[in-house]
């Protein structure tokens, strides 16, 4: 419409142009346009109107006019410019000329390149990440790290500069090729850093008074590490991340402000985009280190791609976590994922690729005997009456000696000879091959393989609608021959603003995991002798550490060489190939949120999410695996009698034991799934009165519904080599049924939670803030009694911003100062659910079908006093800004009073339950957290230093624990609580010298007697005579992060450190050693003869008779040597400090210059070289280089590998 009018007007004006003619004379070489126009007016009486801004009055023209007409003058001065003129009523109108189509195309090619630097108006420093858009187009570029940009545009275009928290600024190009711009902070818009995301609300920090740490994904980025939970490492004060296993999917042991529970999981709550992320399987922090197969599902965030993360916020004190009320005790990690941006409709595409390779572990890090050293010990043992033919030939487990004896009896009738002659010389010849083998198991079993991640994201949006899509693919060929993982993630997020009052957010993320791990069964504990065991364990790392270097994987001909395990042939390479786990996990979350402004300042919102995750774990044991072969090992009558995997039929007692798995192997399936609904509605009222009074009220009501189900099936006799034929022997089932082991089972648990919460915040003049939260939680988890179903929690907190006060002297050193304080109650639900008596059913443990019946048993007696675990927390903190807020200093002190802790309570037993799970414990904890972070140096030349140092000290003490735990728990690597000590204290049996006659170890006994070789591990009274080392969790943790950037280069390093804890060394001593297991180098210094006890604490290899008969207790009675040697493994001799300093991450990035990048149509491109877990710079010598964080418990557990990564990031 507008356009048509203009065209009409123009054509009309042109028609009347030539009507009047006047002459003018202007002679001046460099006359300004203004001058020329003034002359025309003076000489001809014409007025000149300029209706375009394309002509400036100071434009210089060469005026050599001698009595020429006004029209001629005008033609001359406007020539070459896109202007035209008209003359009407003695008025000359100059305006822009309409362009022809051809001219427009020509214009397009005539575009110019504009470059410049964008700076912050406040401090003049360059600003990276500012987006520059050509107005009216989708054409956008972003400034680089030095604030530079380059954009191709028409001469007359307008550039729009945008940055979150800053005023949007426009500027016309006007043909300029260099435009530097300063943009100004928008006081009305909050800076991103000043928003605290609690998962319920995004709050102005001024209104928020709790203790939090925010980690921007960009800073915590750990290229090459696909699990988000590792991003917390060393980045936030008060958060300790212990990597108890490096296997993908296994969660690190994360503690926020230390442990709060004696029996609970002590894991922080993960909240992703406002929705609580429930674990697929509940695994306690302690259980994370067992290496059992279900730990692969331990990390609830393993389905998130790190590239989709925008930021992580740690809510630490009671004020911060208050909105989570009864689940808040262990802190909350709020994950915010990326969302779409307003790109003016343009689609931005980002690609990230990482390529990682692992370093193999090395024997230099461990004190393991080489093959020659070990052979000498074995020969000593042979002299002492071990490793003889009788005990070895039919042994369940055997290495070179077993092999030697079996060959000596391997008679070949064709040439009337034995495979090995029974002469000293032949035997030594046989053994010398192994003595010289020195097998490097790490080389054999570990890969230097490739882990690659590819992630692609697209974001597009307008002011009203923004979307973000991403997909990623991770493929890890595995640290060892036994593991492998692939992960796919997909993420879609869309935000729509229907009107100023109504907006909608839709979110969906999905992940698929396909993982392979070594086949494993659940770990068993034997508290009588003090050992842990796992049948058929083939964890490559433990195998490499525990297997003698005498053993060879290949024989002389290069074929796989088998030794004996479970009476059956065993070769680790064969076993890893034929006995493995396959885990598949599908995890989908669909989420929607609606926001509606009811009346101005009052917003109603509703969020809902549905999550479904299903995992299937298949255990494949092929027919040629040792696990299957053990069921067929039936070579001699001795083996037949002793092999527990055979079946002695009670209906045919006279028959020898049967092989019940004559063909095939196993195919076992374990299914875990979770179905989770979440619904929440909120009312948010935000009002500012009279400028200075800011008020925010928030009310929320939520419902959570979680159903977990797990089932497992034993697939028996699956014939892998025979097309999957299943032809099991009925006797296997007979054995199973008689034995009470069901071939399938299914369990479920249902959680229903309801919560009501309200939070009121008031702030006066940005100086004083006060906050109060109240929450009321209801849950079904404690059982059917309604008396214990509900729990109120509350919190009050306040903050005072000193620097806003009038009296505060403005200075650049302490430029801002804010003090905070919190007091409140938070809680956690324990694992007890016996508010009324718990009855479960089982089939009686009786041998025959006609004797079995269904029994209902009391699993727990009623406990009408059952309640939630709770804590009161006092938190005092200060946020200080130094040097014009270039460096921020945050300090927090907290004290926690933790009570009603659940734990195993020993009772008199008279009520019918000797060990009850009840609220009886109390604990105190306190700590200090300190973070110094900032950008102390930023020069105009482009050098920038960002640094962050954080550390935290946390101690806790059990103040009430009515009964003492047994010794076995106290001395185990995981530690146990005891009154007066840490939440998990590590204790030891006190070593009391080696016996001078036989060299076996002795201890201070459980009754205080000296030189006692017997420790009753289940004793609860002998703990007084144990030695306390310290907590198993570090008391001091921290991280030191530095980033230096200069021009296009960025170098960052992360150091992490911890101290204050103790670790139990791997149990490695026993009264006798097999010819299969590796031995510690320490054994070289073992007791050999009387008198040695003065110089060494390493116990002897005792002879067979002493083993059974000469282990004397102080009262003269004798005992079994196994007690003494196992106790030695749990003595004070076998403890190291857990202190470490680690170079966790080092990364060097290079940003490809914009000019180069844009040539290949990229908006940016970055290449990085990253090293993760580079070096353990300090650790206790006693560990001999082993990782103090890692628990080597076999199963699926793997250490954290050293790895190097190449990462490429590109934006289009």
């Amino acid at each position: 419409m507008k356009l048509v009018t203009v065209i009409l007007l123009v054509s009309f004006l042109q028609v009347s142009a030539a009507t009047y003619g006047q002459l003018v004379t202007i002679k001046e070489k460099k006359a300004t346009l203004e001058k020329v126009i003034k002359e025309i007016k003076r000489q001809a009486g014409y007025d000149v109107l300029v209706s375009t801004d394309k002509m400036r009055s100071n434009t210089v023209v060469n005026a050599g006019f001698n009595n020429v007409s006004v029209e001629q003058v005008m033609d001359k001065i406007l020539s070459g410019k896109d202007l035209t003129y008209s003359i009407e009523d003695k008025t000359i109108l100059i305006k822009a000329r309409e362009k022809s189509f051809i001219e427009r195309i020509v214009d397009y090619f005539a575009a110019i390149k504009v470059t410049g630097i964008v700076r912050d108006k406040k401090d003049g420093l360059p600003m990276p990440g500012v987006s520059i858009t050509i107005k009216g187009t989708n054409n956008t570029v972003v400034t680089n790290d030095k604030g530079e940009y380059q954009i191709t545009t028409a001469e007359d275009a307008i550039l729009v500069f945008r940055f979150i928290g800053y005023k949007t600024t426009e500027i016309a190009v006007n043909g300029k090729t260099k435009i530097d711009m300063s943009i100004e902070e928008d006081a009305s818009q909050l800076k991103e850093v000043n928003i605290v995301s609690t998962g319920y609300q995004n709050l102005d920090r001024k209104l928020f008074t709790g203790s939090t740490s925010k980690i921007n994904a960009k800073d915590a980025e750990r290229n090459g590490i696909p699990d988000v939970s590792r991003m917390l490492e060393g980045q936030a004060a008060g958060v300790s991340v212990q990597n108890v296993s490096g296997t993908f999917g296994a969660a690190p042991k994360i503690r926020v402000r230390g442990a709060t529970s004696l029996s609970g999981d002590n894991k922080p709550l993960w909240v992703v985009d406002g929705i609580i992320l429930e674990d697929v399987v509940n695994i306690s922090n302690e259980a994370l280190s067992t290496g059992d197969a279900n730990t692969l599902l331990g990390s609830s965030v393993a389905g998130l791609s790190p590239n989709d993360i925008e930021s992580l916020t740690l809510l630490k004190d009671a004020a911060a976590t208050a909105m989570y009320g009864a689940r808040a005790m262990n802190g909350v990690v709020v994950v915010t994922t990326k969302k779409g941006k307003n790109t003016e409709g343009r689609t931005n595409i980002n690609y990230t690729g990482t390529f990682t390779t692992y370093l193999k572990p090395n024997y230099n890090n461990f004190d393991i005997m080489n093959s020659a050293e070990q052979m000498s010990v074995l020969l000593e043992m042979e002299n002492k009456g071990y490793l003889g033919h009788a005990s070895m030939a039919n042994a369940a487990t055997g290495g070179v000696f077993t092999k030697m004896y079996n060959l000596m009896y391997d008679y070949d009738a064709t040439n009337d000879s034995f495979a090995l002659k029974n002469t000293i010389q032949d035997r030594l010849n046989f053994l010398s091959r192994y003595a010289n083998a020195n097998t490097n198991w790490f080389d054999v079993l570990f890969n230097n393989s490739l882990l690659q991640e590819h992630s692609l994201s697209a974001t597009a949006g307008t002011a009203k609608s923004q979307s973000y899509f991403s997909t990623s693919f991770t493929s890890d060929n595995g640290q060892t021959l036994g593991d492998k993982v692939k992960r796919f993630t997909g993420n879609a997020r869309h935000n729509v603003k229907f009107s100023d009052r109504l907006s909608l957010e839709l979110l969906m993320n999905a992940s698929i995991r396909d993982q392979k791990a070594p086949g494993t069964l659940t770990r068993q504990s034997d508290p009588v002798y003090g050992t842990y065991s796992r049948d058929f364990d083939i964890n490559p790392y433990s195998y490499a550490l525990n297997t003698s270097r005498l053993i060879t994987p290949y024989d002389e001909k290069g074929n796989l060489e088998y030794f004996t395990r479970n009476y059956a042939p065993f070769n680790i390479l064969n076993e890893l190939e034929s006995n493995y786990l396959n885990l598949r996990l599908l995890d989908i979350k669909i989420q929607a949120g609606l926001k509606f402004v009811v009346i101005p300042k009052l917003t109603y919102s509703v969020d809902g999410a549905y999550r479904y995750a299903a995992s299937e774990r298949n255990h494949y044991a092929l027919e040629n695996s040792n696990m299957a072969a053990a069921f067929r090992a039936n070579g001699t009558t001795i083996i037949n009698d002793n092999n527990q995997y055979l079946y002695k039929d009670p209906d045919n007692p006279a028959q020898p034991a049967y092989v019940v798995l004559p063909q095939g192997g196993f195919y076992n399936t374990t299914l875990n799934n979770i179905k989770n609904y979440y619904f929440r509605q909120n009312l948010d009222y935000d009002q500012t009165f009279a400028e200075k009074h800011r008020f925010n009220a928030f009310a929320s009501m939520e419902v959570r519904f979680t159903d977990r189900q797990n089932s497992d099936y034993d697939g028996i006799g699956y014939q892998y080599e025979n097309g999957g034929l299943v032809n099991p022997n009925y006797l296997y089932f007979k054995k199973m049924i008689e034995a009470g082991d069901p071939y399938f089972s299914m369990y479920y648990n249902k959680e229903r939670n309801v919560g009501f919460a309200t939070r009121v915040a008031y702030s006066y003049d940005n100086t004083y803030s006060i906050n109060a939260t109240f929450r009321y939680d209801g849950s079904n988890r404690m059982g059917t009694s309604s008396a214990v179903r509900w729990l109120p929690t509350w919190n009050v907190s306040g903050a005072w911003d000193l620097s806003q006060e009038k009296f505060y002297p403005k200075n650049k050193y302490l430029s801002s100062a804010r003090l905070r304080g919190t007091y409140g109650l938070v809680a956690n639900m324990g694992n007890a659910s016996n508010s009324t008596a718990l009855f479960y059913n089982r089939i009686t443990y009786r041998p025959y079908d006609n004797e079995k019946e269904t029994a209902t048993y009391i699993s727990s007696l009623a406990n009408s006093e059952l309640t939630w675990e709770k804590l009161y927390e006092l938190n005092l903190g200060a946020d200080l800004g130094l040097f014009n807020d270039k460096v921020n200093f945050t300090v927090d002190y907290y004290k926690r009073n933790i009570f009603d802790l659940l734990g195993n309570l020993k009772t008199s037993g008279v009520g019918g339950q000797n060990v009850k799970y009840a609220n009886y414990g109390k604990m105190e904890a306190q700590g200090v957290e300190l973070t110094i972070a900032g950008n102390p140096i930023q020069t105009t030349s482009g050098f920038k230093w960002r640094t962050q140092l954080n550390f935290a000290h946390n101690t806790n003490k059990v103040t009430q624990l009515d009964v003492d735990p047994n010794i076995w728990n106290l001395v185990s690597a995981e530690g146990a609580p005891m009154q007066g000590y840490a939440q998990r204290g590590l204790f030891s049996v006190v070593f009391d010298g080696l016996n001078p006659n036989y060299g076996y170890p002795t201890f201070i006994g459980t009754n205080g007697a000296r030189h006692d070789p017997y420790i009753y591990f289940q004793s609860t009274t002998g703990s007084n005579y144990l030695k306390y080392h310290g907590p198993v969790d570090p008391t001091f943790t921290g991280g030191f992060y530095n980033q230096f950037s200069y021009k296009n280069f960025t170098l960052s390093t992360l150091f992490t450190f911890a101290t204050g804890n103790y670790v139990r060394l791997q149990p490695s001593y026993s009264p006798q050693y097999t010819d299969l297991n590796s031995m510690s180098r320490d054994l070289i210094n073992r007791w050999v003869m009387s008198g040695d006890e003065k110089y060494t604490n390493i116990p002897a290899v005792v002879d067979a008779f002493t083993l059974a008969n000469r282990i004397y207790r102080p009262d003269g009675t004798t005992t079994d040597a196994r007690y003494a040697y196992n106790a030695y493994n749990y003595s004070d001799q076998r403890v190291a400090k857990g202190d470490f300093v680690r170079l966790k991450n080092i990364s060097l990035s290079y940003q490809i210059p914009q000019k180069l990048a844009s040539k290949v149509k990229m908006s940016n491109m970055q290449i990085s070289l990253v090293g993760n877990n580079i070096a353990l710079l300090y650790s206790d010598d006693k560990l001999n280089g082993a990782d103090p964080e890692f628990f080597n418990n076999g199963g699926v557990a793997m250490p954290i590998p050293r790895q190097y990564t190449l990462s490429i990031k590109a934006g289009f």
């Binding site: 069964l521 009312l683 249902k750 309801v754 009623a862 406990n863 309570l905 009675t1117 004798t1118």
Partner: protein, 502 residues
């Protein structure tokens, strides 16, 4: 404004609706627990009203059925055998300890209490009579075994004012309530009350697997044991005599010379504790390693050469009893009576993990018969009527007829004269008592019942100790020694239960 009110009204309505939905929502059971709300489930609950641990290890270990086999000759030397033999309290509550049995008995009591409460709460009425009877008798049994081991032995006609054992009558509902021990007399009074109220209710009781429950027959065996301790001989006799309609024990008790005779060792062990065998009147599935060579057989302080010789020796009847003792790992003196067959309850067959169990015969026809024999002998003295001796002899002969191969009444039958000669005694009564005690000791070797006789007859227990150089010393545990009463478990003492004096 009207609009706003309308919106707020809708919102609050929604919230109210959700609130009322909450109660139901939160009543969802968190897992697959069950409730006792039908008679069938009540019956299922009572399956666990029996101690699932046995007293064999400690009752035998402290008794004269155990000896020091010397370090040299034994296969193992482990706890709790060492402490038990030394009449010390074993640490902890591991397998075979008195503490473990204490807990198991009280678990059974708790189940019985829960069953009685469920009957009351659900108003099951007379339909539940059988289960009420079972619960009462099961409670009485568990309490009787507790008072026997953990309190001083009942003195007939005594004051019995020493400490009894706690006797809870209601399910526990708080974490750690306190309990009083009462006296031996008060404990016995409550056992009597439960037994005498429960036993009549068991008439005609039907069970899916009767031999694992208190049938009327089993309850009568228990009653006969109880009345032996209280000295009510007539009640012993009347209970035993009404167990079988035809009064015939000979075909019901353990048929060593009958059907068990031809069996191999392995078969013998299996058949011995099968529920279908008539002698097993009450079996209990008990978690146990007692049957293993690493426990009662191969340990230094266990069933050894002397006890074995007694077990296989010539009896007062003139011949040895048939037995199926076995040797572990071909290494004497590590013996077993070969009575218990291990049932391995697998938690996972593939991983070879689980728990060992034995089916423990805790009330047998054999015991009933010999209890009656004792009652007759006692009556003979009390009433000064020797005719009771012949009734006792009849019972003992019935017993011997199933033990002596090719039993011949005229040559192998017991007479008072034979007994007097055999034991070198002059008193008829003493000789009869000795005959009975010998018969019982052999009959129930490795079954723990010897300890009950030691208590009732105030026998002195004598233990040998073999030093490394072979010298042998002895220690005795006479009547009145405080160590004859097993100590209250440490956990229970910590939980406020008064310990026994030492």
């Amino acid at each position: 404004m009207k609009n706003i009110k309308y919106k707020i009204a809708i919102l609050s309505l929604g919230i109210v609706a959700l609130l009322t939905g909450c109660k139901k929502f939160l009543e969802e059971s968190p897992d697959r627990r069950t409730e006792i709300n039908t008679i069938e489930k009540l019956g299922q609950l009572l399956v666990t009203a029996y101690p699932d641990r046995h007293y064999y290890t400690f009752a035998e270990g402290a008794s004269d059925n155990t000896e020091d086999k010397s370090a040299k000759n034994s296969l193992y030397n482990s706890e709790p055998f060492i402490s038990l033999y030394n009449w010390n309290t074993p640490e902890g509550s591991g397998n075979g300890t008195p503490a473990e049995y204490w807990n198991a008995c009280y678990r059974a009591v708790a189940t019985a209490n829960q069953a009685l409460k469920s009957i009351e709460e659900n108003n099951f009425g007379t339909a539940a009579n059988q289960y009420k009877g079972e619960a009462l008798v099961a409670r009485a049994y568990a309490e009787f075994m507790l008072v026997t081991f953990f309190a001083e032995a009942y003195e007939i006609d005594g004051s019995n004012s020493s400490l009894g054992v706690p006797y809870p009558l209601e399910p526990e509902t708080t974490a750690r309530p306190t309990y009083e021990r009462g006296t031996v007399a008060s404990t016995y009074a409550q056992i009597r009350k439960d037994l005498e109220e429960g036993l009549p209710l068991l008439k005609g009781a039907k069970y899916q697997v009767p031999h694992y429950h208190f049938t009327e027959q089993a309850a009568k065996v228990f009653a006969s044991r109880f009345y032996l301790f209280t000295g009510e001989w007539d009640k012993v006799i009347s209970n035993v005599s009404t167990i079988y309609a035809d009064g015939n024990f000979k075909t019901k008790i353990r048929q060593y010379t009958g059907e068990l005779y031809p069996l191999s060792y392995d078969e013998h062990r299996i058949e011995y504790t099968k529920a279908e065998k008539p002698w097993n009147l009450l079996l209990s599935n008990t978690y146990s390693v007692f049957q293993r060579s690493s426990a009662a057989g191969g340990n230094r302080f266990s069933f050894g050469e002397n006890a074995k010789n007694y077990y296989v020796g010539i009896t007062v009847f003139g011949k040895a009893f048939r037995n199926r003792f076995g040797i572990y790992s071909s290494s004497p003196p590590n013996y077993t009576t070969n009575k218990f067959n291990e049932y391995f309850y697998y938690t996972n067959v593939q991983a070879n993990t689980g728990y060992p169990y034995i089916m423990a015969p805790i009330l047998t026809a054999d015991e009933a018969l010999l209890n009656r024999a004792e009652a007759y002998i006692r009556l003979a003295k009390e009433k000064a009527d020797p005719s009771y001796f012949s009734l006792a002899i009849n019972d003992l002969n019935d017993f011997a007829s199933t033990r002596i191969v090719g039993y011949n009444q005229s040559t192998d039958g017991l007479t008072i004269a034979k007994a007097k000669t055999y034991f070198g005694l002059t008193d008829d009564y003493e000789a009869m008592i000795q005959s009975l005690l010998q018969t019982k000791r052999i009959a129930f070797m490795q079954e723990g019942l010897r300890w009950l006789d030691i208590l009732r007859f105030k026998l002195t227990v004598k233990h040998n100790f073999v030093a490394t150089d072979g010298t042998e010393t002895f220690q005795t545990l006479p009547h009145g020694d405080k160590r004859r009463v097993f100590q209250i478990p440490q956990d229970a003492i910590n939980g406020g239960i008064t310990p026994n004096p030492r």
